[in-house]
Structure formats: structure tokens, C-alpha cells
């Protein structure tokens, strides 16, 4: 399936892009992030991130579907 992945803050700098199309067979968001850690060398484990799917916070065991937009969210620091 084809997914769209959004990167923010340090992940964006590391990936070198704010978003990319990813072809993946991962069963869920956890699997997708494991793939992307390998590809981009992200240092943060999933326990430090939150994930959003199609604009809403989701769990790491969220099953992904073709066309989903997945956002990887490092610990926030607004305010």
C-alpha cells in the first residue's frame, strides 16, 4: 500500500523532508515507524513519539490502509 508520511521538528531535519510517499507492507503504525527508523536513522524510539493518522492521534497498533496520512510527532515544545 502507498502511504503519505509527515515529519516534524528533529525528524524532519533528519529525514531531510517534511513529507514523503512510502510504499509499505507494514501491518500497523508501529511497523511503519520501525521501517522508517532504519531508512532515516531516527534515534528516538516509538515510546517517545506520538503518531497521528489522517489528522487524528492514533495508537501504534493502528492498522494502516492504502492512502493513509501518517504524522510522526516528537515530544512537543510549544508555549
Amino acid at each position: 500500500m502507498r502511504l503519505r508520511v509527515l515529519y516534524f521538528a528533529s525528524l524532519r531535519d533528519r529525514a531531510g523532508t517534511d513529507a514523503e510517499q512510502v510504499d509499505s507492507a507494514s501491518a500497523d503504525a508501529r511497523g511503519l515507524y520501525a521501517e522508517l527508523r532504519v531508512r532515516h536513522g531516527f534515534a528516538m524510539g516509538e515510546e517517545r513519539l506520538r503518531v497521528a493518522v489522517n489528522g487524528e492521534f492514533a495508537r501504534w497498533d493502528r492498522v494502516l490502509a492504502d492512502g493513509d496520512e501518517i504524522a510522526l510527532l516528537p515530544p512537543v515544545s510549544g508555549g
Binding site: S10, L11, M44, R48, G55, P74, G78
Partner: protein, 144 residues
């Protein structure tokens, strides 16, 4: 009303918009860009947001504040983009008949915004370095 804005925050205009004849108390909070953090000299900041989710989560926080506290209104505006020292980065205002609720709601909103809303701060230091703040006790340098 939770808004992300790319232009300077105008606290006076925001407070005026809260005017209500039944409001006896208005508590506000402004977060300003400081010239130092954790002992390092900061020269400017960038804020980045996941805009659609930030707006949705900010609106949820304001709705929670209205449910939890006897307020008339609560609003929050957060800057994104490049900020200089002294610039307001975030503004929260809450009105109520009485001050207990106004203070409590104002505090609730800024605390939750800082915890939950997908916005990130990149500090630029006097020595030319910069780094995203991911406030979970991890040094900036090790983050990505």
C-alpha cells in the same frame, strides 16, 4: 477559539475581544521568547506546527476548560514561524464572573497546550548552534 498565527500576537486586541458585561475577571497568560534557556544564550526561535491537528487539539483543550471551570470564554493564540527575543509566543485569556475560575482555566489551557498541542520550538543559540526542544530530558544534540 484556538488559532495559530504567523504574524505578531496583539494581546490588547485579543483581550478586548473577550469583553462581556457579565465578566468580572479576566486572567491572561503570555509566553515570551526569553534570551536564555538552560544556561544557553538564545538569539531567536522558530516554531513549527502540525497545523490541522494543532488547531483541533487546541480547540479540544478550550472546550475542556469551558466544561471544567465556570468561565464565560477562553481563547488561545500561538505564534508559528520565526520569533525574536521578547516576542509573545503564546497568549491565553479566560473570562469569568469570578477570578477563581478565570485563573484556573487560564492555567489549565497553557499547561495542556504545552503538553498536548503538536508545536515544536527550535532555539538558535548565540554560538551559532540550534536545536529542536523535545522536553523529555533528552539533550538537544541527541534528538534525531
Amino acid at each position: 477559539m484556538f488559532l495559530l498565527c504567523e504574524t505578531p500576537i496583539d494581546p490588547a486586541a485579543l483581550a478586548r475581544a473577550l469583553t462581556h458585561a457579565g465578566a468580572g475577571a479576566c486572567a491572561t497568560f503570555e509566553g515570551w521568547v526569553r534570551d536564555s534557556n538552560e544556561g544557553r544564550r538564545v538569539v531567536r526561535l522558530d516554531y513549527q506546527a502540525y497545523a490541522s491537528l494543532a488547531q483541533a487539539e487546541g480547540a479540544r483543550i478550550l472546550a475542556e476548560a469551558r466544561e471544567k471551570f465556570a468561565i464565560i470564554d477562553a481563547r488561545c493564540v500561538h505564534r508559528i514561524g520565526a520569533l525574536a527575543i521578547g516576542d509573545p509566543a503564546v497568549w491565553v485569556g479566560a473570562t469569568a464572573a469570578h477570578r477563581d475560575a478565570a485563573f484556573a482555566a487560564c492555567r489549565y489551557v497553557i499547561d495542556e497546550v504545552k503538553k498536548r498541542v503538536p508545536i515544536w520550538k527550535n532555539e538558535h543559540y548565540a554560538n551559532g548552534e540550534s536545536g529542536w526542544l523535545h522536553p523529555d530530558n533528552t539533550p538537544v544534540a541527541e534528538l534525531s
